[in-house]
Symmetry: D2
Subunit: 366 residues, 4 copies
């Protein structure tokens, strides 16, 4: 596609009434490359105008959880039944459904249409990349293999888990400059990461930390290795490093905080790592993707930063903010830092939109 062409690409959103789907609407309704053409959700909402489907049946109040508000033309779109959707006329489909639903429906959509998904269902398939623009663009090539092997005209390109995203972005420049042997990470994740159904109850998190998020650690560990892996001979070879994490939930609405400890292969000082981050920023500052942040990594010099409340929205929630960068005393050639990443912006729908932009630029969509 000619980037900047006058005609926008036709986009659909599945799971459009849910939290992730609403975020897709917010991210796409003024997008320079995509136009929202169709919306789909569960059978319950099908047949209603989007504006009606958002209404709480009990009180009549509109349940909209994102910034801004849908434009009239979006509110008037009729919601389709996701399980019966024929998306052959669309250029791209954004999917924000739960993993079990994704497992069933996304392959159907992919027969005709590129699917960008926030669900985990296909992340760990051999022929499927987990793309983060600026980190592993080259992995997109395996999509051709996916198409061939599965006989699809479209494909499924899933997003990384929201906790993986900031970690992988900050590890990438370190890996490139010094190599990585081990990564240990403890996360303090926001409640929005659990969504709204069921989500985290206030009763459980007031004055509390919950030290377990089912399946989260396995996802972060596996995804980090895959994302930082090499694309060779039509395969993604997992990075040769060790990753371990403990994921906890804290009383924060948005923005995941992660304490990261890294053992590098080549010795490096704190200033060397900052230089690697700056170089990484420079390389990607020229990105033409509309959602790409001016800086992939914001370096906070104030020792009390990054904080989720103050830093999650840096560069529209698309930057990863890093602070407290210092030597680590327990690991060989160790450095440690703290990062904050916006789990429902770069870590979810806005991040998925940026993946779609990358795939437009590379010619996989449109």
């Amino acid at each position: 596609m000619l980037v900047g062409a006058l005609k926008k690409l036709k986009a659909g959103i599945v799971g459009a009434t849910g939290l992730v789907g609403q975020q897709f609407v917010a991210a796409l309704q003024d997008h320079p490359w995509f136009s929202i053409e169709r919306l789909a959700a569960s059978e319950r909402s099908a047949g209603q105008a989007y504006g009606s489907a958002l209404k709480d049946p009990r009180t009549g109040a509109t349940r909209w959880y994102c910034e801004g508000f849908p434009k009239r033309e979006v509110l008037e779109l009729q919601v389709e039944d996701a399980s019966k959707m024929d998306c052959s006329g669309l250029d791209v489909l954004f999917s924000g459904v739960e993993a079990e639903v994704a497992l069933k429906l996304e392959p159907e959509y992919a027969r005709t249409t590129p699917v960008i998904s926030t669900a985990a269902a296909f992340r760990y398939e051999e022929d499927t990349p987990i793309l983060i623009p600026a980190v592993n663009d080259q992995h997109a090539e395996i999509l051709r293999r996916q198409q061939e092997r599965r006989g699809w005209r479209g494909f499924i390109a899933p997003m990384a888990n929201c906790t993986t995203t900031g970690l992988a972005i900050t590890l990438k420049p370190i890996q490139d400059a010094f190599g990585i042997e081990r990564v240990i990470m403890a996360s303090m994740q926001s409640v929005s990461g659990a969504g709204r159904s069921p989500g985290v109850l206030a009763l459980d998190i007031i004055d509390n930390v919950i030290p377990f998020i089912p399946r989260e650690e396995e996802k972060v560990q596996a995804e980090t290795l895959k994302i930082l892996g090499k694309y060779e001979d039509g395969k993604i070879v997992a990075a040769d490093m060790k990753v371990s994490c403990t994921c906890t939930r804290v009383n924060v609405s948005e923005g995941h905080t992660e304490a990261v400890f890294v053992s590098t292969r080549k010795g490096c000082g704190v200033e060397d790592v900052k230089d690697a981050f700056r170089k990484f920023n420079e390389q990607h500052a020229k990105s033409k993707l509309p959602s790409s942040p001016r800086e992939m990594i914001v370096l906070a010099e104030d020792p009390f930063r990054p904080q989720p409340k103050l830093d999650r929205d840096n560069h529209g929630g698309m930057a990863t903010t890093v602070g407290r960068l210092r030597r680590d005393d327990a690991l060989d050639r160790g450095i440690k830092y703290v990062l904050v990443s916006h789990n429902t912006k770069i870590g979810a729908s806005k991040g998925a939109v940026m993946v779609a932009e990358l795939l437009v630029e590379k010619g996989y969509i449109g």
Copy 2:
């Protein structure tokens, strides 16, 4: 002293109007071995009855921040000026003053009287132990050296930092059974750890994590090595291991949570570590110290535990609760777990009282 003797030991409290001092009052007023004989605070409170000194001058309301309430005989004690206190008649003095004040006053007190302190001022002195009963009782012997060298009849025995306490307690059985090479820890600390003046402002911690606590990480690293060190030839030799931590503040009132990653020297499985914890509990179950918890370490099998809200008060806030014990994939011979420890009970005044009990039992006090 004959434990269980009818006559109680005479105790004084310095910094009695502050938060830590109030906790000393709460911990001591019904203590079977100690009786509160004297209270001291800053010049401003001197001369008033304790009950009056606790009153907010603006509203007349009593500012009492702990469980229970002082008994009438304590409320009627006249507060002395800490800077002029002659404590030669006391068997033990509990000090809850700030570090800078401790640096000046505690040596004066120690000329005549054993001082148990929550301040950091003397923790890192060569002739001073950081005692945690059941972990390093033998280090008490260096107090004799301290007395000799400084010409004191009393001594200064400082408590560990509240974040060190739970970490050192859980590392001890692992060290004894398997040896420890490296420890990495990320803490999620409660706001009460910062006390009340100035303390953590609600404005700063609502919907937030603060990733830096000045000087905390250095304290935890140094104290852990010292506490787990060996007492040899009249010296404490720091443990031969590496410790690194990142300390953060979260929106929790009481109870520090720590994500711990350990590389042991001898390989061990998860069940081996549980056995080591259980054995440690058994060894100390017979402790005759009144403040000693029935279990030093509570093992939580529910993967969603330990949580500060639900577990900080286990065994009266004197137990360390451990959960999520599992293999670590990044460290060699690695295990990882999460702990919760009550920072203002075992981590402060109640912990200091338990240290005093140990020193009574060993003949250093009374």
Copy 3:
């Protein structure tokens, strides 16, 4: 029943696996008058031992949300299907099911057995009292009418709404001493009032106040008038006063706070009201009901009290704490105050148990 008799009354609990049902287990398992004989829940749990039914199928962890833990004999009770339960052998049934379920099942149970319910389903029926011991004990008499009219051997005695409870308790002595013309109340309610399914999401209440709780204000207004009404000629005549409230949800786990403004019929000073509260306390201090608090109303003199965190557990969560009692400048003969009442103790299961105790004492149960 002879209070204090050796043989305990046989109690059943319906909705036993839910939050309210768990609280019934906690309130009853060591009760001097009742023994838990049977437990019922939805079909899904039926047939399992109670201990198994509490387990989270995903993680195997036991989901127990209350103080203490069920005793072995309770954990081993087999859960029955509530919709098929024949409770003819029980002396009393405690029902903690949702309103719609209560509407259907409670009349079935009441054919044979007294039902004490936390559901709103029958509260507004003419032949049904909303009992609060010490406030309107005499209303119990209408239960005889209910039995006659409906042909039941048992009856349904519903609890007041948790927000009504503290309000009615504090209004009662004022009404008796001075008469009441108008009541205005703004509540700041805790999230536990919404239960766990769906409950209040952390995402919605962090850094927030939610100014609407569906149907709550209507309940409080109607119930207050009924509870403070007179029992005359076999009828409850609603109190002749006006009540208005605005109910909001705040970021508190347990304990409802209410700002109350009252216009009395007879002029009265602040001290007069305090005297009325004290007299009310004295009258009920001799209550022989095991759950009755030593003081129905705790008067807080500190102007910064009552606070939900510090006062909700006064007298085991069964007292209503009142503070900031002062003249009101906008209402004629006005006084105003703030109260805190524990919404899941006196406002739910423990309160329901106290109602059952009253009905035992009066001969309606057992």
Copy 4:
């Protein structure tokens, strides 16, 4: 002054390093009518560049608590000693100091210069207005009397208390249309209202409500009567109505929520009140003041609104959002509603800047 003239008015800020002062910097640095010429603070900061004075001496980190960040030319301004400041060259001085300091310094400044103050020190003086643009613009005239009587070339124009502001704005259209007899209000105030020194400790407000804010209720009651009063014969005659409130603190960072109950003089329905609000909005929609919101009052139809998290920033924090408007059942001719007002925007510095704009437009400044 010719509004829109090319030359900006010279503004100074006293208390510039504090929270309110920082908010003045944020509100003024891009203002179309004012330019920041001078900054003053306590002796401790005097002589330093503003950028240095903001630095935490312990960590070197810049302590900036507002949106955006000061521009370079502001950071380079040298901070003056407030107690020695000669402000004769300034067109207007914005004062964000504490009440006791204001009492002493503001009269000195007012000898030569108009002072717009967020402090309460002069609010209750007979010759001093409490201005809220769109509510009581005419009260500005009394400033002439203040100048005459005190022999000042400048004057002191204090802001309303942050809790009064939203209340008075919403009462004004009701008063004009129907008359007001009584007002009862219960507030749920955010912690930022208490500032940063000492501010509200997290320890005190986590899982809690604090039912008392010293002197707040008296301020709101007195200020509301004064603001809604008439300017007659050179005097402000307090409004003939009764106002009562209970002010509480809740766990919210920014934005005060108020439950308001009003007894009007003329009967009116809910729709009549909405019409009055809309008419009020229309009247002031044409305001040329740069800080004036497009709507003074935002009417929320969703019954779950207004919420501080979602509505405090409406129209840049300058609108008052009203919801849950309904009949009140306890008061004669009663209506009730809930409002949210941004306490540190319209309720503090941005509101003070709007007052200055009004006084420029009316010719009192410039």
